[in-house]
Amino acid sequence: MTDVSVAFGGVTALSEVSLVVEPGQVHGLIGPNGAGKTTLFNVACGIVRADSGSITWRDRQLRRLRPDQLARLGIARTLQGVGLFAGLTVLENVMIGAHRHARAGFASALFALPRSDKDERELRTRATAALADLGAEHYADRYPGSLPYPVQKRVALARALVSSPDLLLLDEPASGLAEDEMRELGELIRTLSGRMSVLLVEHHMDLVMSVCDRVTVLDSGRLIASGTTEEVQADPAVTAAYLGEDVDVAHDAAELHSGDHSERAHRA
């Protein structure tokens, strides 16, 4: 991803951000609220189109592709929250994830040809295996709405994994999880890294720092730091972005009243 910029109606959400996810690595993406993490994710999976810059995956230009095309190229993503299909069973949810491996077409489905049955069996096997990997195969016939939140998150992850993606985008996988569940998640992500590249947006620092190979920090749509976890932890810019800077409140308040236009200048 090189020099990617995105603006929404005059507001710059991302400004010339570049980052590289190496094969087989876990790459963390962090930053305070409103830093542009989700926008960057949306660009990577095609929901938002970048205004400029380029996105390349295995020598293919991706900037103009739709999400479904990207998915067929092996880029899978989980959504913030869970984003499961409420009207489908857990197993069916995961089978949808395996969509890109389905072979049987409309005609064989219409006439219920053996070809369609065989296809379904294969998808079901794949999906069951993916659920089993995450220890959620008990829930195969349940509907997502009736399951505890952590289980729903596992199912969502299984749905992303069942397509055997080459690049997995994880959007806040730890939100809503308790500490011990988070630890399990961390172990899981580590085991994934051998099979695929992972790009991870997360604000639980413990998790990020323990599983990521490299970390990129965004603030206000700009890249402010990138490197190994140690490098990033040592970077004062990162601390400042998160904790804010010490400011002389009393002094600045007087300026506000005098009606200066510093903010305009700042935004320009």
Binding site: C45, I47, R66, P67, D68, A71, R72, A76, R77, L79, G83, L84, F85, A86, G87, L88, E92, N93, M95, I96, G97, H99, R100, A102, A104, F106, A109, L110, F111, A112, L113, P114, S116, D117, D119, E120, L123, A132, G135, A136, E137, H138, Y139, A140, D141, R142, Y143, S146, L147, P148, P150, V151, R154, R159, S163, A178, D180, E181, E184
Partner: protein
């Protein structure tokens, strides 16, 4: 919270404590059903066909014609169930699509030497599918109220064509449809089965029943397959579906085409049963009646569509009788049925959005989930 503990441990492989029994395995344990979807569905068709023959032979000609009416409602409602229930797209234009099928059938039958009936039906399906593809392509970018409004305009606008092309389509009066005669073998077959005389009404009722069985067989195949699952996924969460590699537009158009094909066949059956294709038969009320049928039956269930259609056929009769008994005159009493449709739509959406079949299914699921949880916590 006990779920978490079960989760944290590796699966015990103990079937007694498994969270929920697999529905397929519990089903096969009771009634041995064939593995193949095709065989299973063919078996169901066979059972239904026998039931249809029995039903048609034990009832009088009047009921026969009512059942013919039921068949074309159910065919169209089945299609609408796919579109609205499975794919989440609403259409108020299905009455207009039925008109396309009916007029196509009428035109083909008016030829001096008409084609065989199945071919004509096929033609009606193809023509309506094409129209459906057109509408679907426009509709695939719309949602909710926009889609409802656009298809509403379709329902109100399309019959205008019949008025515009008076010579071929018959204007306000409509197009008389020459219903095909029953072939000789039909009379003999009926005589052999039940000894009843084979009337023209009976023949049409059989045509309707066959068309209905074929339609529901094919729709059931689709619903059970990857196709149906993908439609439901698009309905439930389009962003997640797209991220899973599903091209939303194509799947929405496909649903519209399948649905339109059913409407076309329904219209074709309607044309031969009513023997007339006229604008007054395809008003907005027809579209809304179809919508009522599927909402009542439960969005997304073919059985629900069938039950809902049955209500469409028998309810007007019932309410009109009630109305007359209550002292309303004929035309007033006839309005009771649409009144009930409307009230049913409102009440169903407020109190039981899942419809008749859906509500029962949800109850069952909730009970099953509760049992599963009870079992887990008892562990």
């Amino acid at each position: 919270m006990s779920d978490l503990q079960t989760q944290g441990q590796p699966p015990a492989g103990n079937p007694a404590t498994a969270a929920a029994p697999a529905s397929t395995s519990s089903r096969t344990s009771r009634i041995p059903l064939p593995e193949s979807t095709l065989l299973r569905h063919l078996l169901a068709v066979l059972v239904c066909a026998v039931a249809a023959v029995v039903l048609l032979e034990i009832t009088d000609p009047f009921r026969n014609s009512q059942l013919a009416t039921l068949s074309y409602y159910a065919i169209a409602a089945g299609g609408l169930t796919v579109l609205t229930g499975l794919n989440g797209q609403i259409s108020l234009g299905h009455g207009a699509l039925m008109a396309v099928g009916a007029y196509t059938t009428g035109l083909f039958l008016s030829a001096d030497e008409p084609l065989p009936l199945p071919l004509i039906f096929l033609a009606a399906v193809v023509v309506t599918s094409l129209v459906g593809a057109l509408v679907g392509a426009a509709a695939s970018r719309l949602h909710g109220p926009y889609l409802a409004g656009a298809t509403l305009a379709l329902a109100v606008g399309l019959p205008g064509l019949a008025l515009k092309f008076k010579e071929t389509l018959g204007g306000d009066q409509g197009l008389r449809v020459r219903a095909p005669r029953a072939p000789d073998w039909f009379g003999e077959a009926i005589k052999a089965v039940s000894g009843n005389p084979a009337s023209a009404t009976k023949w049409l009722a059989y045509v309707g029943a066959i068309a209905l069985l074929i339609t529901y067989f094919l729709l059931a195949n689709l619903v059970r397959s990857r196709i149906g699952r993908t439609w439901r996924a698009v309905r439930d969460n389009d962003v997640a579906a797209e991220l899973a590699g599903i091209r939303l537009g194509s799947w929405r158009v496909l649903a519209f085409v399948v649905s339109a094909a059913c409407a076309g066949l329904g219209g074709a059956v309607l044309a031969i049963v009513v023997r007339l294709a006229a604008p007054s038969a395809f008003t907005l009320v027809l579209s809304l009646a179809l919508l009522t049928a599927i909402v009542l039956g439960g969005l997304g269930s073919l059985l629900g569509a069938l039950i809902g259609s049955a209500l469409l056929v028998f309810l007007p009769q019932l309410t009109t009788d009630l109305g007359s008994a209550a002292g309303l005159d004929g035309t007033e009493a006839a309005q009771l049925a649409p009144f009930v449709y409307g009230v049913v739509l409102v009440v169903a959406m407020i109190f039981a959005p899942a419809g008749f079949v859906g509500t029962i299914r949800l109850r069952w699921l909730a009970r099953r989930a509760k049992r599963a949880i009870a079992r887990e916590s008892g562990r």
